[in-house]
Amino acid sequence: MATAWPEKDDNELLSLIQNGSSQAFSTLVERHTERFYRLAYRYLQSREAAEDVVQEAFIKLWENPGLWQPARNSKFTTWFYRIVVNLCLDLRKRKPLAPLDDGTQLIDEREPIDESMIRAQEQKMLEKEIAALPERQRMALNLCFGEGLTNQEAAEIMGLNLKALQSLIMRAKTTLKTRLKSIL
């Protein structure tokens, strides 16, 4: 389906959605689904769960477009990240993350080891250690590294001040460096 109104910015689309325009809603969904999915996936480590969260967030917006108040909210993406983050945290409270496999079991030593296999193993170990971090540290890492947001934006999304966010990231990275000492 072709995107309608690609030239309209998010605020214009949102005011059209508030007037019941499903076309504007489609445009907004097509524009932003991927980025919100990425964040949800990095946090939940499950495609189905991440898709459900993104779908729920967009349906909430469609059902109740009055939630968005341009005078109160600075930027649509920042505001909507907050909705996705809250849904992810709620889901994790109801359904804790299943422990990931130990990455060291990935390599079959009979097979020749190539660079991509080593990379895959490192990736797996990193994911395992990130999953073991406290929730808020994990979310802070996802926002700042995965999404390329500034610390200020990430702090706003998490409802923290800048110093608190920086402290979360520092603690997360210190823990990761200690736990991944053997491969870093």
Binding site: E51, Q55, Q123, L126
Partner: protein
Amino acid sequence: MKDERDEKLDLWLQQRAVTPASPDLTQRIILQAQRVPQRKSVSLWQSVRDLFAEFHLPKPAYVLAGALAIGLVIGFSTPQYNETSANDVVAAQNFLSADETVL
């Protein structure tokens, strides 16, 4: 200052793999939204207007209501004071003071 391990960790964090979403995710969201009715948030002013919109009065009723309103305005703006009532007040005061002397 950042050391080599910091840089490597930062790079790993930025390059974390993400399993792509289902190709139909966007369409699923759009279709799901079509089945869900929108809830309109109604302001106080809008709800007052809606309430009054329920009363469909014929034109003569507006004329009558207008005439009554004008009558009320004129009635309240006419001075209440007149000489007769002032005289009555004086007479009543005289009568009362006469009673007090007897007591």
